[in-house]
Symmetry: D2
Subunit: 473 residues, 4 copies
């Protein structure tokens, strides 16, 4: 064990720990969730990337001795390579602003940098605040790191959403010939093709895909350089001009300084925006998942018009039962994502004065939501969507039997007659076709082209059919 000192006094630290006094205090202060910064993909990487970029910038403006700068750069790089993951023990829930995580990073890098230079841990040559945190404050580092993390994590999410878009597009083609009955208010409506149904999913996904790409652009502008309250106090001349190019080079992303640093520190609207787009995605996925569950209900006492791939037995007691577990997974993830959106909303609304300090809970919830969808969408694609199959025969039977086919009769003879035909069909358990022929409203030949469900799914074909009828009669 070794002793480290901070402004509150001495703290005992395990010898092999690269973190220091403030980390150890924070570790004990916040042990509530068992989840740490390591559990958030790209987060520590982003903080370390900032430390590295800052050291490079500070070296370039001659504020940092090259030896110290190089040691910091090397140490930060090692953190980025996950070599020190075990040295970030602080709970993801923590005091406002994320000071503890920033100081944890400063301490690990300082200890490691000293080790590189002197062979021993400690702050003899490199000090966590004076050197590693030079020109920075927790208040600009952590929100900047959050945006970088957001940028990187959204990239992964966008990739899988892009793949979903492709798969759904293909389904619109695969299912183009499957005629079925549409339902509104869960009641029988008029025919549609399964491909048309999926074209709705496809276009929605395309739109969501684009929205995520747009939202991600908001993560490109960072408050880095704002330091404590937006005034940039303690940044040195030239720092700002050098740190962003370095950061761009390290990350490969076009990060720039925010137009107004005060705005950047006060407001968390970027997180609200990202959360909103993620929520939109989750809401849609949940809706689609519910559609599949409805259409796949049965096999004998349900709609039974869609075969959801079986990925595991469904019941511990009912043999042969198969449940739509993958769509169910999606529904539940949506519930979590919607709950998390609320947590983020409250965190942003609860901001006070010059800095929104509720970053820790935003990090926890936003990236949980993002990660759940990033992990779940490929599962949804590969274990459900790809092998989804229509029950073609059932689909067609539904389409032919619907009393809502009377809509065509309505178009031809007015709503009143359409209505009478529909009621008669329902009461006598007949098809619309059977009723209109029996009642002499249409001939069988006319019914053939006017009541063909497939024709009804195509507005120009059905308009042409109506046109043909009028010409013929």
């Amino acid at each position: 064990m070794r002793t480290e000192t901070d402004s509150l006094g001495n703290v005992i630290i395990p010898n092999d720990a690269y973190y220091g006094a403030q980390t150890e205090r924070a570790r004990l202060n916040f042990a509530v969730s068992g989840k740490t910064a390591v559990d958030v993909p790209n987060y520590l990487w982003s903080v370390a990337a900032i430390k590295r970029a800052a050291a490079e910038a500070n070296s370039q403006i001659n504020a940092l001795d090259p030896e110290i700068a190089n040691a910091i750069i090397q140490a930060a790089t090692e953190v980025m390579e996950h070599k020190f993951d075990n040295h970030f023990p602080i709970d993801i829930f923590q005091g406002g602003g994320g000071t503890s995580t920033n100081m944890n990073m400063n301490e690990v890098i300082a200890n490691r940098a000293n080790e590189i230079i002197t062979g021993s841990k400690g702050y003899l040559v490199v000090h966590p605040n004076t050197h590693v945190n030079m020109c920075q404050s927790t208040n600009d580092v952590i929100p900047a790191a959050m945006k970088i993390t957001c940028c990187l994590n959204l990239a992964d999410l966008i990739t899988v959403v892009g793949r979903l878009e492709e798969v759904l597009k293909q389904k619109t083609i695969d299912f183009a010939k499957v005629v079925k009955l549409a339902r509104t208010c869960l009641q029988d409506a008029v025919p549609i093709t399964l491909g048309q149904q999926f074209s709705g999913y496809y276009h929605q996904t395309k739109r969501l895909h684009q929205s995520l790409i747009e939202a991600r652009k908001q993560t490109f502008s960072l408050p880095l350089g704002a330091t404590a309250v937006g005034t940039g106090l303690s940044t040195l001349q030239g720092y700002l001009e050098h740190v962003y190019p370095q950061l761009q080079q390290i990350t490969g992303e076009p990060f720039v300084a925010e137009e107004n640093f005060f705005d950047g520190l006060q407001n968390g609207d970027t997180y609200l925006e990202v959360a909103a787009q993620i929520k939109k995605l989750a809401v849609f996925l949940s809706k689609m998942a519910t559609d599949f569950r409805l259409q796949g209900s049965g096999p004998r006492a349900g709609l039974n018009e869609l075969f959801i791939p079986a990925v595991q037995p469904g019941s511990s007691i009912m043999p042969g039962k198969i449940n739509p577990v993958i769509p169910e997974l999606i529904n539940q993830i949506a519930y979590q994502v919607i709950g998390n959106d609320l947590s983020i909303t409250m965190a942003v609304e609860g901001g006070e004065l010059d800095l929104n300090v509720w970053e820790p809970v935003i990090i926890k919830t936003l990236f949980e939501s993002c990660g759940l969808l990033t992990n779940a969408i490929p599962i949804f694609i590969d274990k459900c969507l790809i092998d989804l199959k229509p029950n073609v025969e059932v689909c067609r039977r539904y389409a032919e039997q619907s009393t809502a086919l009377a809509t065509v009769i309505s178009t031809l003879f007015g709503y009143k007659i359409g209505s009478q035909v529909a009621i008669q069909a329902f009461e006598q358990n007949l098809s619309i076709r059977e009723v209109v022929i029996a009642e002499g409203i249409l001939t069988a030949a006319q019914a053939d082209y006017l009541l063909d469900p497939m024709i009804m799914t195509d507005p120009s074909a059905s308009a042409a059919a109506v046109h043909r009828y009028h010409q013929e009669s």
Copy 2:
């Protein structure tokens, strides 16, 4: 027009208005929603009841001249009789604490009381603050009035929930002989009676009914007497002992002073509790409504096992279509109620220091939720539940066809054989009965009592059937 003066200066008031300067300022300050205190059932009644009780108490302790007291009592009574509804023009959204509504009441009563005594409006004899508000503060009057309102409005809600409970109980009897298939994960499960399904609704409602009654008890303890911050500053000797008996007499409810007034002003947990119980009710109603919509889906491309009463034509284009509009109404009300619960949560969480001042938004949202359910439940009962009818034949067919009847085979011969039977039935499109007889697993006679869906709905009957089988074989 006449001129009234308050600490900020002169205000022009219409001659016939009974309200005064502060009301007029507030009317202009808060015109955002178009909704006023008059739109909240029992709210103004409750505030006026407090004013009357306070005047009676203040008269009894000789703090108020009897003539003034009597005029205040008469004026307050007239407000309770809705004679001055047009004189409460302030938006329901308003400044924190509801000062404006309390002052509106003080002004209307003072003007009317002066008129009673002197023949003219004005505050010559009776002053809104000095006399009408004597021993009171907005800070104890408004939360006390909210709790009284809550108490009264919950009584109405509890009454309709009680009726729902009765109707559902009757349904468990009416539907006791209707055997159908239960579904879990929307997949075919094992038989159940419709009466059993409704017994779940009935017991849930019974529990919710009781929860509401319990929650209502929390509204009996009031902060009245706390005045501005809980210390009761400005209450006169004897006031507290007299005001509660008066209030009990006026309202007929057992209102008492809260155990701790500071708690009473700081915290809004009673509203959270009431909102939570109302949310639980809405969530259940929504779940039941969705069940009806699912079971009533069709008529030909849905489950079609329940006939939801037709209360209006369903489509402007599809003749003969009937939609489950009443259950749909319930679902949507639930969405509003859940949203309102969140607004209330934020309002309570946002309380600061010695008084939670977010009462106006709590009043708006809590009583909107309460009113929606109080109005909708009788509609749900009378226009949907009462005349709900099972499609007995479809129900029975589903029950007999389920491959999950193999559960019994599993109980008798192990999960593996049960599983094989189920898969064979599914693949060959046979019933479980057909498979087990064909495969020589059971005789037709054994199948009669072992695979009868109705027997399977009764655990002792099915256990007896299994027992009989073991004894016979």
Copy 3:
């Protein structure tokens, strides 16, 4: 009284009512909130505008007799002119899809059109479904009308947000010379100008303004022409090509058909998007309002650095008390808006299959939120923001006294010495300036330029000060 008939039978209607059987049924079915379509700005206007555009299109393609078309156009125009507001009695909460409101419109227009042609109400010549609803379905009319309503209402909101942006911009200039102390975690931080603080608000508002403009663009594409399920069944040849130009002309907005009608009917992401942007606005306004309340707290036991304009007396019991009622109004509206966002989220998530039918609750909540902000922002501007005044003396005193000025010492001499100075200042109740001079760390002359709060608010000035110090020493 007169009798109307629909597919469910006869209904008695008041003689002077322009609505018909389906409206009357719906009026009785849904009486839960007391709020109707008339209470939603621009909503009935939008539905009527669609009816008019459809009649014009149907006339152009010769599907409607010119006399009938003209009567429908005139009747629709009269509805748009609010001449029939009393004839839309149905609750805003109603069955899924808003069929009742669409039929209410069809009936009013049909009765009025018949009256125009024949002198009497009734459907002798013009039928609500056959003629008024020609080529339409509730399922495309109502979501199209919602988007038009959204477009129009957002325009009003955007206008007031634009004004807010201008006012805040002016404040950044007005307050540019007011130096004060920034606070993070509610603890004293380093100096900032009040203008800088407001520059954060200004830039945030500018961004929100832009986001609303972007979101509004999503309302330009309509599902009109999709009819019942997206296939456009029952639309006649040429209808689609004619109806949009007509609608553009009537509304003056660039409405076009959605790229994919199935998507348009299935998904409510546009409402989620608009709700999200409105929520972001509300969240920011609430944060700013809380800042004002904090900074305006006091006058003697609070921060007392901001004078919030007095708009009404604050207390019924504490004379002279003035409360920040306008900011408080804003906070509460935000709670409502956030709750409504949740209701909308659930309504969109709860969509099933081919049509999201939860439009009524979306209409109620989305436009309530929009309206509250549209009404409240001008109040916030005129009754709070415009006359907001800093307490310059208090602001400056805070800035000079902060122990966080030791940040500069830290920059010059390392974090350790900075820390010692800060602690000494705190413990001995001295200013940082006093400590560093007493301890011989800086001369008075150096302290003058290094510890001037105003210089610290300017990063280049403070960097220059540090630079000057280094050159001098």
Copy 4:
């Protein structure tokens, strides 16, 4: 590696894994969050306890061979002792109903039980479904286990809330003599003692404590015995009578069968109730935490009336800054808990027909909320509350300076004069005492007893002072 087979075919399993085919499938199907059942305190223990109780009951009714029963009992006990934690690899998010976790348990126990009997894993003697799951279904096991888990976890939460109650009670005594100024709408109000302020916290906590104890009682009734859909199909005669006594003995808690099993499976209101009570607790803690942050703001530009214990340095850039990190932790946990309440609400609302299958997301969110508070409250007590200290001098100064002391003048001479005094004091920067003496309203002697802040905190003392004044004058 070994091969296991289920109804879908063969699965390759690591040799040392005690889980089987269905677990392995589920492990791959649901890898989304990285969190498993092991992360939920008491959950696997509860499932295993049910398996053990069921084996004991099945042995007692002679349905299970004693050797098999004993092996199952031993295996289940080993699971309860955490000996197999590594063999539960399935994500906490999973298919509806938690079938995968139940089957994971069945497989682990079966493999271990076979090993006990035969020396090898496999299902030669003990089968996961036939024997371990005997008389059970996932559909009754998992909700029963959830309720047991809830019961156990709530016990821990209740214990820490009980301790909080004690600590707050002590504070009411410790702070009884500290007079300060109350604030409403963040504006100066009338005096209060800090002990009175804390008495509000104490009584609120007492009430929340009791609410949690009440809510916990709802977890005592279990659906165990309901099997798949509530009918108890596949339970054997006598099972129900034996399994509950066994479960009571194993758990030490009074678990009984639910009054109605259908209700038990359909509805998740117990989780809503528990979530609501946990939310109420979180909301209150957050409110109290915000109070501390406000009162502890400063040290020089804030209220500075409360010293929040320093537990770590506050800033990486501003030396000497100490932030209220523990209250901030509490605020953020509240945001998470409120978000989770919403997820649970959606999960319960989303229940369909005979079983609410959204248990996995309920488990994840409900027990996360419960655990966060259970862990955070002791931290809040020990690192914040215990050592919280008032700034007595500042508190007293605020109390004496408030212009709201004019309330007493108002009580004596009417609101108008009270108001004039208050305004004069404010404008001339005097105390109320100074004004009333200067204006000849009170003598210094009268002011001594009428305007003493400490007297004003006691309603009978202040009423007595008013009484004394009236008698003297």
